[in-house]
Amino acid sequence: MLRCESVSKRYGRGRWVLQDVDLEVSGGDVLAVVGGNGSGKSTLLRILVGLSQPTSGQVLGRPQHIGYVPDRFTAHERVSALSYLTHMGRIRGLSGAAARTRAGRLLDRLALVGGRNAALRTLSKGNAQKVALAQALLVEPALLVLDEPWSGLDASAHGVLAEFIGEVSAAGGAVVFTDHREAITETHATGVFAIGDGRVSPRGGPHSGGRVTEVELALTVPVTGVRPLEVNWYALPGVTDAARRDDAIVLRVAREHSDTVLLTALQHHWSVESLTRPGVDHASRVGARRAAL
């Protein structure tokens, strides 16, 4: 659908923020762009949605309906959240009543605190972010672009955001988002691109041949009832997270260390309940099958 062809960008005579970026986004994709602060993530997103012109190269096939959520949504306006969203809906071609209904439903799902009739400028960062999210979804977007959408949102809104991303992707739309936390990108994206020194390269995900960067390992007490030995999981290589879920222990392990961790667990009499790739159903099934072999 959307294709970047050797896109490069620099501001004025400054350094190159992006260099020779080739990127293809198809309907149904959920792509994450990871990179440090100032690595050019936001610039890439601004070029994708058409806010910025690339210095060289071109972007082809930009769809008509684009939803864009900026990283900071600081509104100094006195209009209320609902009225703002109604105006945005009208600009997108909805009727006033349809825009108002849709905006109300989105704000309900996001549980906007402070009231839908509160002025935008009185909203807290997280609530303003919810309004920013709602305005991008007033019309089912063919391309949804989110700049660090998880920062500032509360835990319940995280779930709703994941639902929104799933819905857009299920309806055939493409989603591109940035975040600097790998756990989040691994959970939600079907493909991950890393950005550094102005270059964008694919990393992990089905787009680079299904290489899994992290696996989730659930361990339980074996059926025989033998108590397994305690293990300091964090001391093992590659373990990023160890959590207790019901009576199982769920570990997140870097793919290259998963065999070692698995072996250690078995040696300590733990039973493997499941071995999955977090977040992506298709890949997790592949992961499970691989584990069965």
């Binding site: 058409g50 684009i66 949504f73 006195r78 009225s83 105006h87 945005m88 071609g93």
Partner: protein, 218 residues
């Protein structure tokens, strides 16, 4: 486009940033046209001068209302930078309409004049000529091109002086000269209409320049 103008008009209305230029305009009218009993053409010349200053102020305030992030969202929503810029210009022009009406009516209340249809048309043409030129200056000095409002304000003052003083070149200068020397409003209708068209051209050029520069920089 109507939805866009409606949104920007509402934001401006709620921000109350229109209040200062509006009061300035009414104040200028009161000072310049009270106890005046000369030909209305000259009176409307004064009103047009006030309109020039106030339309610059209104346009700069209107475009400066939204910060960059917020404008980005509106641009993506509306579909293009140009559409949003045209929306801003349309909204500024819309705000100048009530000022024009005030400029037509208030001098009649402040002074004693005989009012004809030709006077009304001439007054409207003259004020809109100044409004278009003022909006053109406002767009060029807006936040779209100047991050630092100090420089923008300085440039706005220089441009204002230039269009007022550039003899024979600026439509505003020609217009004000004509109006001062006119005895009958009906004689000036044709030439003022031409000046109105020229100032609309100036506005279009200013919009094109602003669009080109801001897109290059974005």
């Amino acid at each position: 486009m109507i939805a866009l103008v409606r949104y920007m008009f509402t934001v401006m209305l709620l921000s109350q940033r229109y209040l200062a230029p509006l009061l300035l305009f009414v104040g200028l009218l009161a000072v310049l046209t009270s106890s005046d009993s000369g030909p209305l053409a000259a009176t409307y010349g004064s009103a047009s001068g006030g309109m020039l200053v106030c339309s610059v102020w209104l346009t700069m305030a209107l475009i400066g209302l939204e910060d960059q992030t917020h404008r980005s969202v509106v641009v993506v929503t509306a579909g293009s930078h140009l559409r949003v810029l045209l929306g801003s210009v349309g909204t500024a022009a819309l705000w100048c309409l009530p000022l024009t009406a005030a400029g037509l009516v208030l001098p009649l209340l402040f002074g004693s004049h005989t009012f004809t249809l030709a006077d009304a048309i001439l007054g409207t043409e003259a004020q809109l000529t100044c409004a278009f030129t003022g909006i053109a200056i406002g767009v060029l000095c807006s936040r779209l091109l100047f991050r630092r409002q100090g420089y923008a304000l300085l440039l706005a003052l220089i441009l204002l002086l230039a269009v007022l003083l550039a003899k024979g070149v600026s439509p505003v200068n020609v217009l004000l000269g004509d109006l001062q020397n006119a005895s009958d409003s009906a004689d000036l209708l044709g030439s003022t209409a031409v000046l109105l068209a020229i100032s609309a051209g100036v506005l279009a050029a200013a919009v094109a320049a602003t669009q080109a520069i801001s897109v290059r920089r974005s």
